[in-house]
């Protein structure tokens, strides 16, 4: 039993504690030391997560590098970790994005001008910000590695707390008291939505345990439960299975977020710092879609099939609705948020189309959306920090003043609209093909999402970057070295995975096929040849 997985989880957790405990103070050197420690910890985590992904043997066992420690025996709960291809890739994505987010947010948590009477500025602000990011990273990685349903639940729920403080406690400082109020509203909305989802899931977790215990499975171990369900040793009655599925799915659909449970996302992403917004949409929300694949399909195969059409319709509505609202946004960050809602519609559609192309497309989509949205949002954040405004109307002609900024922003925009050659294209194509083979009508309507994506992404670029140079933009500096260091790897990865997605698909496909076989589902026979550039082999 190697301790690689627990080390990958423990490093950021210990780093969070260490960062929080570093000496406070407003001197620049103290702050820089704090940031350096946090960045160093996240770099070590990245190395560990990469080692995990490298040591994962795609055609080996379903769960590898497994570890199990006794935790709460009374409830059959163990601290069990194990990794499949999907979990390995998503944990790696998290570990890649966190250092980028830290670099991009380098000055977001510096103490600003003191409060009205000069005494209330929190001297531990910097420590708190970076410690919270590391705490989120640790909890997200545990969720991706957990093979115990309860362990997953605990961290799925607990990650809300650091996230909540990140949203509510740190944001654009320029806004004044009004923006502080909106920020705390956004943080509370985020927490309440997700807490409600989590509590419903708690009821379902308890229900699952009680049902399983009645049949002699007093455990939360996912592989045990899933194989018992697959062998028919654990029989759930139709109603029970549906109720439990809905309980789990509700929580994941709030987190993902799926229309109509999405309304917290624009608030949260709009009010948080750009770095926190990336953490929300590219890291934390991925746990929701990941969990649909791993828990909903694995534990409740029949109910998943029953509800798949309804979920597909919701996902479709989300795709179109999110894209339409993105077109109409006046606020750059909210636009990115609505675009993400549209993208999450694609991911969920890929999962519940129950085809191998759809699901490997959805998994790739999670990674690609993470990378491309991170690039797009972080550059948008750099732009906003220069002008102090989130309104699109305040910008214009930036490409003449800051060409590098505008260029990277363009690449982010093009990735968002799934330009062929960039990574999101591969995954979006796979999702659409996978959906089309089973539900042609839904696949066709979803295609309009791409058209709308082109509209909102290019309109945003046109309004902010082209045209006459606006007043507040005239003296705008171009990207600094630190900012380039954030954007360059993201752009490089987006291009690389667009041209050569094979390493990723090799990792992911066996796990996807295993998931699909749990649902007793095979791909429909192709009526016409499919360009399976990178799709899963037919099963």
């Amino acid at each position: 039993m190697s301790a690689l997985l627990s080390a990958t989880c423990a490093v950021p957790a210990a780093g969070a504690v260490l960062t929080a405990a570093l000496p406070a103070g407003s001197s620049e050197s103290r702050r820089r030391a704090t940031k350096a420690v946090a960045l160093g910890v996240s770099a070590v985590t990245l190395v560990l997560a990469a080692v995990v992904a490298a040591r994962f043997e795609p055609h080996g066992d379903r769960y590898q590098l497994t570890e199990s420690y006794s935790w709460i025996r009374s409830f059959g709960i163990t601290f069990s970790l194990g990794v499949d291809g999907i979990g390995a890739v998503l944990a790696l994505l998290t570990a890649v994005l966190v250092p980028m987010v830290m670099l991009a947010s380098w000055h977001d948590a510096d103490p600003g001008p003191a409060g009205p009477d000069g005494t209330f500025e929190n001297r531990r602000r910097t420590q708190a910000f970076f410690a919270l990011i590391l705490a989120v990273e640790a909890m997200v990685i545990v969720s991706f590695y957990a093979t115990d349903v309860f362990l997953f639940y605990v961290f799925f729920e607990a990650m809300l707390i650091p996230m909540y403080f990140l949203i509510g406690g740190f944001g654009d400082r320029a806004g004044g008291p009004e923006s502080a109020r909106q920020r705390s509203y956004a943080a509370v909305k985020f927490l309440l939505y997700n807490l409600l989802g989590g509590l419903v899931m708690l009821a379902a977790v308890i229900g699952l345990y009680v049902v399983a215990q009645d049949q002699g499975f007093g455990t939360f171990d996912l592989p045990t439960l899933a194989s018992a369900v697959a062998d028919g040793k654990l029989q759930l009655s139709g109603t029970a299975e549906k109720a439990l599925f809905l309980g789990f799915f509700f929580a994941f659909a709030v987190k993902a977020p799926l229309w109509p449970l999405h309304t917290w996302l624009p608030n949260a992403m709009g009010e948080a710092t750009a770095g926190t917004a990336v953490l929300i949409t590219a890291v934390v929300d991925k746990v929701g879609t990941f969990a649909m694949l791993r828990f909903c399909l694995g534990l409740f195969p029949h109910a998943s099939k029953t509800f798949a059409p309804a979920i597909l319709v919701l996902a479709l509505v989300g795709i179109v609705y999110g894209a339409l609202l993105a077109v109409g946004q006046k606020d750059i960050k909210r636009l990115v948020a609505y675009a993400s809602i549209s993208h999450f519609g694609f991911i969920i559609m890929g999962i519940f189309a129950l085809t191998s192309q759809g699901q490997s497309g959805a998994t790739l989509y999670m990674v690609n959306h993470g990378l491309s949205t991170a690039a797009w949002m972080l550059v948008a954040g750099f732009l906003i920090s220069r002008r102090g405004s989130r309104l699109i109307a305040d910008y214009g002609g930036v490409q003449k003043v800051a060409p590098v900024l505008a260029g990277t922003f363009l690449i982010g925009s093009l990735a968002t609209l799934s330009l062929p050659g960039l990574a999101p294209f591969v995954s979006e194509f796979l999702v659409l093909v996978g959906t089309f083979t089973r539900y042609p009508a839904i696949g066709i309507v979803a295609t309009f999402g791409i058209v709308l994506a082109a509209l909102y992404a290019l309109l945003l670029y046109q309004r902010t970057m082209t045209g006459p140079v606006k007043d507040g933009v005239r003296t705008m500096p171009d990207l600094k070295a630190r900012e380039l260091a954030v954007v360059a790897p993201l752009v490089a990865l987006t291009v690389l995975l667009g041209v050569y997605p094979k390493p990723l698909t090799d990792l992911v496909n066996p796990s996807v096929n295993a998931t699909l076989s749990q649902v007793h589902e095979t791909d429909p026979a192709p009526a016409h040849p499919v360009a399976a550039t990178s799709g899963g082999e037919q099963k």
């Binding site: 935790w71 409060g115 009477d117 209330f120 809300l160 920020r183 807490l195 308890i206 229900g207």
Partner: protein, 545 residues
């Protein structure tokens, strides 16, 4: 019993009633506490005023710790709670639940006494350090006599013996094996509490009003309990819980006279309902909850913390014993009603808490909602139900004590600043205190990795396996509502701007700091590594019949 024996002897009759056999060793936890209480009264009479505070604190802590050691020894001797006994002429039970709850009550009382002993928060009165209690309880609030008492630096150090008497009663309450002993225990712990509520140093009228309300309603509830006892005696011919259970389940031989009364269920159902009223009042379940916010708000905050934690433990202990020992056969009759009470308690507690503007009233409504959560475990009627309630009580009491201890620290010139608006921005001024309070609130809300979550999971799981799925769903939904108001306080502390001239956080002495520290350690410990205590609660969940 001994009183009857003495009477019989005095009447010149042959002493047909034997002298009771008392197992002093096994009753030692209660005897130690009562002994310390009596000694505390003597201290008031004989020790000079300036030494009294420290003498009382030392005596109370020594008594409580001694009693706790005795409980531990008894628990060890019981070989994992397998050897269970009836003591003192079968009127006191010595079994797992009794020992477990006595341990919890004693530890909670230790923490509470630590907060009582705090004298650094109040400004000095008459050149002497002052605690949270009235200088002279009998003086008219705002009158000349009170001012004189303040100038002289008087202190009501009687709070320590009063608390020890209350603790003694609480130890007996969940261990009482017959209804009369249970009633006596109820009165023994209630009367000192009524008094303690009236002793706040600040806002004395509010405090006295709280005490009067608590006393009047409490006396009413006690009368219900006593009347229920009488009816059940009429029904079963015994006040012993086990005998009542035997008669109800038809196991006991019945006399012809009893047969006529057992044939009608009116006596037993009315009696049961009245007992339940008395107990539901003590645990603050809806619709018997209306005293809670006023009393929690008016009582001195250390007393509120003690009351909120220890009373709940004792009352739920008695509740469990009553329903599992005396009424096992009547499940179908009492369950629907208890379902209704539990649902109402969870919903009303959570919803009304949302509208509160005072942190002590907010915690009061939160305690009502928590009573509802605990009731779902009680209703589970299985072994898991008992053990989950035991664990929940352990977890809940330390969170509560810690939270109220934090409340004592946030002060302005008028004493504790309990209005929520004055807590705005506390997180910026005193990050540590605000973070600790946020931890307690998150535990109340049942966020994973805190003790509150483990407890909630345990009771809900017990309820679900006991077939009470609707209760679990209501519980989950009201948890979501409850989360809203806990979060609201966190928002206020961390994300709102501090008001100029708002309260400051006083630096406490080691006493309150220890109390809060214990709360934090237990909250995190039972959240991260609860296995040992779950095992303990599970082993302890067997009632003696």
């Amino acid at each position: 019993m001994s009183a009857i024996a003495v009477l019989a002897a005095a009447g010149g009759n042959t002493p047909s009633i034997p002298a009771p056999h008392i197992e002093y060793g096994q009753l030692s936890p209660m005897l130690v506490v009562f002994g310390a209480a009596v000694a505390g009264i003597l201290v008031e009479a004989f020790v000079p005023r300036r030494f009294r505070h420290w003498t009382q604190v030392t005596l109370a802590l020594a008594g409580l710790v001694g009693a706790f050691v005795a409980v531990v020894v008894l628990a060890v001797q019981s070989h994992g709670f397998t050897r269970i006994d009836l003591l003192a002429m079968e009127s006191v039970a010595l079994d797992g639940p009794a020992l477990f709850l006595q341990g919890v009550i004693l530890l909670a009382a230790v923490v509470a006494v630590l907060t009582y002993a705090e004298r650094k928060l109040e400004p000095k009165a008459g050149g002497l350090p002052a605690d949270a209690f009235a200088a002279q309880a009998a003086a008219t609030p705002g009158g000349e006599q009170e001012r004189a008492a303040l100038r002289a630096g008087f202190a009501t150090s009687e709070v320590f013996p009063l608390t020890m008497f209350a603790v003694g009663g609480m130890l007996l309450f969940p261990a009482a094996n017959d209804l009369l002993t249970m009633f006596v225990a109820l009165e023994v712990f209630s009367l000192p509490l009524y008094l303690l509520c009236a002793l706040a140093r600040r806002r004395r009228l509010l405090s006295q009003e709280a005490a009067v309300k608590y006393f009047l309603l409490g006396a009413f509830a006690s009368a219900f309990f006593l009347f229920g006892t009488a009816l059940l005696y009429g029904y079963a011919g015994s006040v012993k819980l086990g005998d009542i259970g035997d008669v109800i389940s038809g196991k006991a031989m019945t006399t012809p006279a009893q047969l006529s009364s057992t044939q009608s269920d009116v006596l037993v159902l009315t009696g049961l309902a009245m007992l339940a009223v008395g107990l539901l009042f003590k645990v603050a379940a809806v619709p018997f909850h209306s005293w809670t916010p006023d009393v929690y708000q008016g009582a001195p905050t250390p007393v509120t913390g003690f009351m909120a934690a220890a009373t709940k433990v004792a009352a739920f202990g008695a509740f469990l014993r009553l329903f599992y020992v005396a009424f096992p056969g009547l499940r179908l009759d009492w369950r629907p009603v208890m379902w209704g009470v539990a649902i109402l308690t969870m919903v009303v507690g959570a919803v009304l808490a949302v509208t509160q503007q005072d942190v002590k009233r907010l915690l009061a409504y939160s305690s009502i909602a928590h009573a509802g959560f605990i009731l779902t475990g009680v209703i589970a009627v299985n072994k898991q139900g008992i053990s989950s309630v035991l664990f929940y009580l352990l977890a809940y009491s330390f969170v509560t004590l810690g939270a109220f201890a934090v409340v004592t620290l946030v002060r302005d010139s008028k004493g504790e600043a309990t209005h929520l608006s004055s807590w705005a921005g506390l997180g910026r001024r005193s990050p540590l205190v605000a973070a600790v309070f946020a931890l307690f609130l998150l535990a109340f809300a049942g966020i994973p990795l805190t003790s509150g979550f483990t407890g909630k999971f345990a009771v809900f799981q017990a309820a679900a396996s006991g077939g009470a799925t609707p209760l679990v769903i209501v519980g989950v939904l009201s948890s979501a509502v409850a989360a809203f108001f806990y979060i609201r306080v966190i928002v206020l502390m961390f994300f709102s701007d501090p008001q100029p001239g708002g309260p400051t956080v006083a630096i406490p002495s080691a006493f309150t700091a220890t109390a809060i520290g214990v709360g934090v350690v237990v909250t995190l410990g039972l959240g991260l590594l609860p296995q040992y205590f779950l095992d303990l609660a599970s082993k302890a969940s067997l009632f003696v019949r």
